[in-house]
Symmetry: D2
Subunit: 161 residues, 4 copies
């Protein structure tokens, strides 16, 4: 499930963390509007968390499916950009398995499944605080031109850790 | 593409409108948090609208895909509950075709494609103010027990129009 | 739902038919192995047909879902190549709504929903001889280099009809 | 990823093998028409194999995507029926990553991701003889009434091994 890379493992790890921090600080939707937390951003993997609040409830008094999707979509974005190659979502599918209620803490882990040329497939799993799977999300990514953070801004002291 | 129904067309139309109003007034996520508007709720069809605001932007300064999904998912919910049979989303897929920017007015139309037993397939199309397709969304619905509004609350004078 | 084209309508229609014939005659899988018929190949649209035979039955004595998918996937291929631009399937989803039995005649219509840059979305609907929807299939296409038939082989007398 | 079960691990393993053999022997489509081999059928997991033959080629002289789907769909069926509960496919999605050519040996592994009530999610991965991922397939299953093999036909001596 790993991809080819000319970067040493420790450097790739540092780079992913820096990319994650840079992306997250600019991501108003995930950080401020949805109040997600980015717990980890590693090469081909990300981990995020979000609490279900009153503002997330639909008419059935459960979390709107769109916000569960949004958590998974953000996790997908961090995972697929983690190698500092600008990457966008081309398409996604989600299966809803359990409703989420106000106060539930949702955690989403995203993992790269395959990378083939410019296209990748990532799987996200959203679980609640009881460890139950709330949703499974599969994303198709497409790399575009450019890097997330300028290559010359990758902090050398950190890249050597 | 229509489904069997023992209700007269005019009554079905009225019922759908009442169901839409009842659902929307209780839907904090769509109405207050996302500031969507429900433009139409008809048997097997719904039309919603949402403006992209600064709070919706991700790190690329474009609308977070999760919010485009949320608009389509809400439209799906209104369309598939429009016959007053409680219905939930089982799974959804979305294809992103064009980015949406701050100030864009996104309109989503959702239409029932097929209903087979308790399961239905609905197609949503999100367009911007230029008529360009921003995303296509397909939802699978499953009917559950109960009605959206109590059958004896369907207003008779309106049901007779 | 149409796409930009510099070709006159009549020419586009003729070209699609020629592309369909050329593709079908070389398609052993669809023509010989699955015994499909190509009923129409038009710009952004195709129509195919296949009878369910004993060889298609799985252990439940119903048509293997893979062969229903195959009919829809072929229809997708003809529809998305119909403008003589080499195009491949990137991903597909299918919803199974009714089983198909031996002797059923399955018809599949495929229609372009949107074309955006090199990527397109096509919807296929498989129905049986009673007009019931057996499956809905959505395909994502990607254009690649080259044409299906050499541009200089497009028959001029036919292009003028 | 495991599911609740009142059956001892060894018994579940034996039962899955017997279910697999019973299903496969009756599955003309997979066994005779597509010439697949069932390499393993375990609780929530199956492994199948198929060689790409001339009869599988489309007009591009590569394996028709429908037959790659069919291999994955069969693997899905064995994996989701492996607990001897009659289960059908409700919907599937597939992403095509690499073409398959005549003579390629395709192996597909299917693994249960989650089971929630009557519904399950299974992931299938199709690889070629070089270990390259040819396609990823995700299937949604729905349990229906009945068992694959009669409960009193489960061979006791094997169930005790």
């Amino acid at each position: 499930m790993t991809t080819q890379s000319s970067v040493a493992p420790g450097q790739a790890q540092d780079l992913a963390r820096q990319v994650g921090e840079a992306m997250f600080s600019a991501d108003v939707a995930s950080k401020d509007t949805m109040r997600m937390e980015l717990l980890a951003c590693e090469p081909g993997r990300a981990l995020m968390r979000m609490e279900v609040r009153a503002a997330h409830l639909n008419g059935h008094q459960i979390c709107h499916g769109g916000f569960i999707f949004t958590l998974a979509d953000s996790t997908f974005a961090f995972a697929c950009n983690s190698r500092n190659q600008n990457t966008v979502a081309a398409g996604c599918s989600i299966e809803f398995l359990k409703p989420a209620h106000e106060g539930d803490m949702l955690t989403c882990e995203g993992i790269e499944q395959v990378q083939s040329g410019r296209h990748g497939i990532y799987d996200m799993r959203v679980t609640n605080q009881k460890g139950q799977t709330v949703a499974l999300f599969r994303g198709k990514s497409a790399q575009i031109a450019g890097t997330v953070i300028p290559t010359d801004e990758v902090k050398p002291e950190e890249a050597k850790k």
